[in-house]
């Protein structure tokens, strides 16, 4: 059943996908000797010049999915299933030396907290130039010149002087700009951005999102944009994939996902958001919360919080159903809406 679903997802992406993930599974050993599938059957495609948003709550597996693409799942976790096709090669089969040549070069990543992602004892310039010299034959001088050009491009004032600054001398927004410069220095084909603006203030967040989109226009890379905030993701992504407890709940073009959500989880999330227009009315809320115990459920992992759940949902995993081109919902009742 799930095979049909993944086929429909793959065919939507077509042959243009730069990176194609099919049925990815990541497991961590559970206390009882078994395995806990914290990512279970995720399929996604990244296309040149497009942004895919990955949304979900803490613990839903969105960051682990991103790390899996880079072969960086932290031990004792491991990839236990699926395929990650990049340029005709399955990255799961690639030896670590060749994976290293890709990482930071053709596939780059920026993280949530630039303060901890940067090394405090090296200047930002040295760290950015290092990323370039690791993957390219270049003199120190060339790497420095290139790093300064990129620091200028990401909007660091006085880039030539800031090259020699240490991370603690910069604000959070400036550090995130440096992370972006570092990610871009090898002109990657794919940029993975994991909560890149969550640690930033509202006005700075807007500036960084704007910068990421400008750079995508200029460099044409595919972006995987991960966030817990549906509003932020809907501001930048072409398509959005909603994850719940390790599985894909729904995927759709951004405007469709927020205006006509199908999966009960997506609908619930959108209905619970407060706004000025809802003043005075009681907010609908999803009952309960999500926890690790939901990973062990037979059937749909959202069953306990879903007002549509019936016997079928307790017994079997709902397969992804295509309800419109590019719009997929993993719910037994998807066709009813």
């Amino acid at each position: 059943m799930s095979l049909n679903g993944t086929t429909s997802l793959a065919s939507h992406a077509g042959a243009t996908a730069l990176l194609q993930v099919t049925d990815l599974a990541v497991s961590f050993p559970a206390g009882d000797g078994g395995d806990l599938r914290i990512v279970d059957g995720i399929s996604l495609a990244l296309e040149k010049g497009k942004t895919l948003g990955l949304v979900g709550e803490s613990g839903c597996g969105k960051s682990i999915t991103a790390l899996a693409l880079l072969g960086l799942v932290p031990a004792p976790g491991r990839i236990t299933g699926g395929q990650i096709l990049f340029g005709g090669t399955d990255l799961r089969q690639l030896p670590e030396t060749r994976m290293r040549a890709l990482r930071g070069n053709r596939i780059a990543m920026i993280f949530q907290e630039p303060a901890t992602a940067l090394n405090p004892v090296f200047t930002i310039g040295a760290q950015i130039a290092e990323a370039y010299r690791l993957h390219n034959v270049a003199s120190r001088h060339e790497a420095r010149a290139r790093a300064i050009r990129l620091l200028e491009r990401v909007g660091i004032p006085g880039a030539a002087q800031r090259f020699d600054a240490y991370p603690h001398q910069l604000s959070g927004g400036m550090r995130q700009r440096c992370m972006i410069a570092m990610a871009l220095i090898c002109t990657p084909e794919i940029l993975i951005a994991d909560e890149p603006t969550t640690a930033l203030d509202t006005t700075i967040q807007a500036q960084i999102l704007e910068l990421i989109l400008d750079i995508q226009d200029e460099f044409g890379m595919a972006i995987l944009f991960i966030s817990h905030n549906l509003a932020t993701v809907s501001a930048v992504a072409d398509d959005i994939l909603v994850m719940y407890a390790g599985r894909a709940a729904e995927q759709a073009p951004s405007d469709i996902l927020v205006s006509a959500p199908n999966h009960p989880y997506t609908r619930g999330l959108l209905q619970t958001l407060p706004s000025g227009a809802r003043r005075g009315e009681k907010l609908p809320s999803l009952p309960g919360s999500v926890g690790p115990e939901d990973l062990a459920l037979a059937g749909c992992r959202f069953q306990g919080r879903c007002d549509l759940a019936d016997d079928k949902c307790h017994g079997a995993i709902p397969p992804p159903v295509q309800i419109a081109p590019g719009h997929i919902s993993a719910c037994f009742r998807a066709g009813e809406r």
């Binding site: 501001a235 407060p274 003043r279």
Partner: protein
């Protein structure tokens, strides 16, 4: 009974509150660092039963304001009156009473609950501090626990046995058990998952009505503020730069910083890059506040006077008196 509305006495009157944090020692290599000027003259009134939201970015002084109002910080100058009584002097006779009547809820329900106490002990702790007799405590704890949706069976458990949303319910119960009039909530939702935030928002709204509470609600999330607040104060580098009724402030912001915050706030379906960027650069640090208008280096409407003279927070021509801003050129926003 008179139908004449007696002019109601505000629950809280705050006048010219200043709080600076000097660096204790000179920095490494003997450099002197300027003090962090967290609050630079904050003035407002809070009516009984009102919800006042305080918004602003990190470093604007909103958390320092919360702690100063809860008497966790001693202000350098300025005055706080609670229910008409001045409270800012250290160790004032009414200090403990006012600490009972105003309570704080913190952002992080993981860090703010003692992991070695049971839920019942955590909730009862304020009663112990305020000298409530043991035989009364259990009933009070059970009552407030039920009000926040915690079952009697959960009172013997420890914090680690609960999810984030449940922990925030425990923190709310602890704040309410001493029957406060004012509750100061400092980012009470931001550590919670999106799908449980609305449960806590609804709970806070219900409790406000059932217990006649007054809220100061500190948040960076403008959609929550638009939903919950009666009035909003926008802070920038230790000062209130705009204060007004929620609807009026959101629909016609007077200060360019408020406009910038509203433009930048993510909203469902609002695409990036479709709005003009209305604040350049980043806020100065609160140890190095620019002269004149503190917002002038980032302001799109800057004029010469903005670099020299600090605009006062006050009424604006053509705008209702209860919507005030600190800008020389409000009308051009």
């Amino acid at each position: 009974m008179s139908t004449e509305p007696a002019s109601p006495k505000p629950l809280l009157e705050v006048r010219g509150l200043v709080k600076h944090f000097p660096h204790r020692s000179p920095g490494m290599f003997g450099r002197h660092k300027p003090p962090v000027e967290a609050l630079n003259g904050v003035t407002f009134d809070l009516a009984r039963g009102e919800t006042l939201a305080i918004v602003g970015e990190s470093g604007c002084g909103k958390s320092t304001l919360a702690k100063t109002l809860a008497l966790l910080h001693q202000p350098d100058s300025g005055e706080i009156r609670f229910d008409g009584e001045p409270v800012s002097q250290r160790g004032g006779a009414g200090g403990k009473d006012i600490r009972r009547r105003s309570q704080l809820i913190f952002q992080d329900p993981y860090g703010s609950l003692n992991p070695r106490l049971t839920v019942a002990e955590i909730i009862a702790e304020p009663l112990v501090i305020h000298g409530i007799a043991r035989n009364i405590r259990a009933a009070r704890v059970a009552g407030v626990a039920a009000a926040v949706g915690l079952g009697a069976g959960e009172l013997g458990k420890y914090p680690h046995q609960f999810s984030g949303g449940q922990r925030q319910r425990i923190a709310i119960a602890r704040a309410l058990v001493s029957e406060p009039e004012l509750v100061i909530a400092d980012e009470p939702l931001s550590a919670l998952d999106v799908s449980v935030q609305s449960q806590v928002i609804n709970l806070l709204a219900e409790l406000k009505v059932s217990r006649g509470l007054t809220y100061i609600f500190i948040s960076h999330d403008l959609s929550v503020v638009a939903y919950i607040a009666d009035r909003v104060a926008v802070m920038y580098l230790g000062r209130i730069v705009e204060l007004g009724a929620t609807e009026s402030l959101f629909s016609s912001p007077l200060h360019p910083y408020t406009r910038a915050l509203l433009d930048a706030a993510p909203e469902i379906g609002k695409r990036m890059g479709k709005q003009p960027q209305s604040a350049k650069g980043e806020a100065a640090s609160s140890g190095n506040i620019p002269p004149g208008c503190p917002f002038h280096p980032r302001c799109p409407n800057i004029q010469d006077i903005c670099r020299i003279e600090r605009p006062r927070l006050g009424p604006i021509d053509g705008v209702a008196d209860n919507h005030i801003a600190a800008c020389h050129f409000t009308n051009s926003v």
